[in-house]
């Protein structure tokens, strides 16, 4: 079991849903995918690198023959995979505090979902439906989502300045460089080892 690699945590959860309810959830995700302002809270939770929800119909499990038995299930299942920075408790706390309405719209169709507020029964539910990761890889183990965003801002600003750097007079360059430093100063810093969590 290895849910952590560097600064990122892999979370897996699976919850059962009555099949008729999955269509409501699919409708919600359809709208969420097309109305970008509805994703703003998710974007603002800037410790999530990647996340996905997968509705797995009860007859949608891969069946390949060759001796495999076909699944016979009553429920559809909602799979949730998240890649986030920080600890499990911080993540669930933030989810509950910032995204409670959105989370309720996603998981209220799952059996026995208690609601995302208050947080204690919500955490108990997540712990119950979570399953552990066996192998976890990240291409940038020392970086958080905010590191990635900042790095791209610095790269873009540097590229813009370097395009004209040689054409400026020293005085013009000094001014452009000052502007560059002001642009990037809040995005500097080093990536590094993740803090050890106890």
């Amino acid at each position: 079991m290895s849910n952590i690699n560097g600064k990122v945590y892999a979370m897996n959860a699976i919850t059962p849903m009555k099949p008729w309810k999955t269509w409501i959830l699919r409708g919600f995700f359809f709208v969420l995918g097309r109305v970008k302002p509805l994703q703003q809270d998710l974007i603002n939770l800037s410790f999530i690198e990647f996340a996905r929800w997968v509705v797995l119909p009860r007859r949608g499990f891969p069946f390949l023959g060759n001796g495999q038995k076909r699944e016979e299930l009553q429920y559809d299942y909602l799979l949730f995979f998240s890649n986030f920075n920080g600890t499990w408790n911080q993540y669930i706390d933030a989810f509950s505090a910032v995204l409670s309405r959105g989370l309720n719209l996603i998981w209220r169709w799952s059996e026995k979902f208690p609601g995302s507020v208050p947080v204690t029964p919500f955490k108990n539910y997540i712990a119950q439906v979570q399953f552990d990761t066996d192998y976890y890889y990240t291409a940038y183990p020392r970086a958080t989502a905010n590191d990635l965003k900042s790095a791209h801002i610095v790269q873009t600003s540097l590229d813009a300045l370097s395009l004209r750097a040689q054409d400026y007079t020293p005085a013009q360059f000094a001014e452009a460089y000052l502007h560059f430093v002001i642009q990037v100063q809040a995005h500097l810093g080093e990536t590094g080892d993740a803090p050890v969590v106890f």
Partner: protein, 210 residues
């Protein structure tokens, strides 16, 4: 398409694991044992093949019973779950895996039902696609940058911070000359490879209370 966000692809694969009561240890345990020893740094198969930002492999033993009044039910197979976030298109990515790390793929998926082996590139791609589940909603915090662009940007960020710190108050003509030289040197430097820089964790952790 829900599997994509910008230029990123969110791949979800569930491969049924062979259920053979004569196998000792069982195939799911053999997968877990292999994964426990598999490199997670620049020696990872996902680092050796191009394009992967983050990926995980999970043995899903069963669905979870949440208690009454829900019905209790169980899967007839265990499944190996691959969750991957990568650049570009699916066929190219799967083909890249088959080209670069066929031995590792065979060691993992060789315990799955009807796995054809990575030696037959097209059969491997077809098999993985047969096990694919479409993502319903996919979120990528940054969905317009490739892995090489991201690795370069992280390298640049550190170098720029050092440059700024070391050039405070410098006379403009010299600052300009050193900046031009800095940029040229930065562009000529190799980008740190994917998966590098992490620290080895002797004890695999990340439990639910962390």
């Amino acid at each position: 398409m829900p599997n994509k966000s910008g230029s990123l692809y969110g791949l979800t694969i569930l491969s049924p694991i062979i259920d053979d009561e004569k196998a000792t240890p069982s195939h799911d345990l053999q997968i877990r044992k292999y994964l426990a020893g598999l490199a997670t740094d620049d020696g990872s198969p996902f680092a050796l093949a191009p394009g992967t930002h983050l990926a995980r492999l999970v043995v899903m033993d069963d669905v979870i019973y949440v208690g009454m009044p829900a019905c209790e039910e169980h899967l007839k197979s265990k499944y190996l779950v691959l969750e991957s976030n990568f650049d570009g298109e699916l066929d190219d990515y799967l083909g890249g895996l088959a080209d670069h790390v066929p031995e590792q793929l065979d060691s993992i998926w060789g315990h799955c039902v009807a796995y054809p082996g990575a030696g037959n590139r097209q059969a491997f791609i077809d098999y993985m696609k047969a096990c694919q589940i479409d993502t319903t909603f996919y979120f990528a915090a940054i969905n317009d940058k490739s892995l090489p662009e991201t690795l370069r940007a992280l390298h640049t960020r550190t170098a720029v911070a050092d440059f700024i710190a070391n050039h405070q108050g410098m006379e403009p003509a010299r600052l300009q000359a050193e900046f031009v030289q800095f940029v040229a040197q930065l562009r000529s430097e190799p980008i740190p490879g994917p998966g590098t820089g992490g620290i080895a964790r002797d004890i695999k952790t990340g439990g639910r209370n962390e």
